[in-house]
Symmetry: C2
Subunit: 332 residues, 2 copies
């Protein structure tokens, strides 16, 4: 198998320079498609907000749109089951969805890309900051890019890790999986935190279950920031079943992968979702500052660098604005 | 190839439970030998210091010692060349060796293990805290364990990364390599630091050069602390040339591996070794505190857990005392 780094060398310079993804689109743009240069996505700068309605937006409702909805596939089924599991447990700690209709579903002007975003803020008094689900589907000449993300972030009433899942496919025979309890402290500086959330929860065994599959290879995000932000037990893999491996991949996704994702979510629900942490003012300030930097940086290397290339500047701007709201970070 | 995690499951519980190594012995004990259980090393607790001379020490000078010196091998030749490169550049910034003769070279009572330790403190006014070189050789029924380490640590006049190299062999056909510029700040919290020392130095390209070798597999330290302490560009690999691959491994070690180690050292010499960092008191306090925790933790998971099993409690105690002195950390 070609290693990721070798793929990247084949990509056009602007794609190569952008760093992927804690969250969504960038990983796909810098990852799986060998024919990515054929995408010819617009290389526009992210626009300022509140621009006039663009042709892309108008076109999204038009009869020419070639993609009505993201297709059903194992990736989305698995993600939906995980989201349902989280919602069932978190219950009233999640407020109703807070995104406007034109962000809940969005399309690009060319009609070859559709996306959805759902954000539930945490209820007052809970440790939940927000739960974000997103799905992107972008047709390309030889297939499609499909990305599903589930993020459940906690607020500053606790320093427990966030939950993060990202599934990225550029082919029907392989998938990139990023699954982590995203740490909120410097783990080398805080061995007690490492022990509590990663050693005692035996998170590394979950990683082992996926990495021992013969189809699994490590996925190295080209973004050093993404690699730094994740925990040492993060599952960051490419599961590649090779030519003709569509059925094998589906079986893994509905089998071992779904099981591990559900178990990791369960570990997070049992150990993090309800936690509160006693902190003095200095500790809380530090936590808030770190959270803010990690959130801003992940939007920067991920969405603002890449989403405009899939959906055009105006649609992307609306979507990123909602994500910024959820993340509680302003435009730089 | 059997994955490391699978190896570990084969090892006796006490070995499995100990975490390896930023520095030396533990990686070997938890890593390469499938017949490790045959070692039957004493499972003693690390003793308090300044005990009476043990039988192990007396035996080390006796005529029964079966190993006089660590054998010449590619691992030691490569490490020596790297150390020479560092010494040539650092020159007068390194003080003369500061370890007593019975730590500069040491043996175990059974006569099947020899080691050496050399520590040069940095001269006053330089950014160098110390340079530590160690070498361990332990005969086992089907071969030997050989470990060579070079650490060059900086003091608090700079926050630049330390240099770390560890080479671990349990077979003549494979080697574990840990090579890193060891970060001294939380990289997710400090993207500027990440950019300066890891992105702009293009450290990840060095990692790529080793990982693209077909004989290379990722090496996952079973210690989550070790994984957390290393940078996202750390080279942590097992180069396994398979049965009959002695010559192939030697060629890689003298070729690509030696080149990459020298280039990484050069990057460190050019960007870190002479640096000074302006810091206010809070920043310096934080740096010192983080340094101390990382150093203590690495001694704990590494040496105090494992060295006594190779060299007995008294010899190990003398060696660890000198390493603690270099690291500037006390016994807990």
């Amino acid at each position: 198998m070609l290693r990721l780094e070798q793929y990247l060398r084949l990509l056009p310079a602007t794609t190569h320079a952008t760093a992927p993804a804690l969250i969504s689109a960038s990983s796909s743009l810098s990852y799986p498609l060998p024919n990515l240069s054929a995408l010819r996505l617009p290389r526009s700068r992210p626009p300022t907000l509140r621009g006039k309605t663009s042709s892309a937006v108008r076109a999204s409702a038009g009869p020419d749109a070639t993609v009505k909805r993201a297709p059903e596939m194992a990736q989305r089924e698995v993600a939906r089951a995980v989201a349902d599991q989280a919602v069932a447990r978190l219950g009233a700690r999640l407020l109703p969805s807070s995104v406007p209709a034109d962000v809940a579903e969005f399309r690009n002007g060319a009609g070859n890309a559709v996306g959805s975003l759902d954000v539930h803020r945490g209820s007052p008094g809970s440790s939940i900051d927000f739960m974000l689900q997103s799905s992107l589907h972008c047709k390309v000449p030889n297939g499609a890019i499909d990305i599903t993300s589930i993020l459940i972030f906690l607020n500053a009433s606790t320093n427990a890790p966030h939950f993060l899942l990202e599934l990225i496919q550029g082919r029907s025979t392989s998938i990139v999986v990023i699954l982590d309890l995203l740490p909120r402290k410097d783990l080398a500086f805080h061995p007690d935190y490492l022990q509590k959330y990663y050693e005692e929860t035996r998170m590394d065994e979950q990683r082992g279950k996926i990495e021992e599959l013969p189809q699994t290879r490590p996925y190295r995000s080209p973004s050093l920031f993404v690699r730094s932000a994740c925990s040492p037990t993060a599952i960051m893999v490419n599961i590649d079943c090779g030519q003709g491996g569509e059925k094998a991949l589906e079986e893994i996704m509905h089998g071992q992968l779904a099981t591990v994702i559900q178990e990791v979510l369960q570990i997070w629900l049992d150990n993090c979702a309800d936690s509160t942490t006693e902190m003095d003012e200095v500790e809380r300030d530090c936590l808030l500052k770190r959270d803010r930097i990690v959130r801003s940086k992940s939007i920067e290397v991920d969405l603002t660098a890449n989403l405009p290339r899939m959906f055009g500047p105006d649609v992307s701007s609306r979507v990123i604005t909602e994500i910024r709201k959820a993340f509680g970070v302003q435009e730089p």
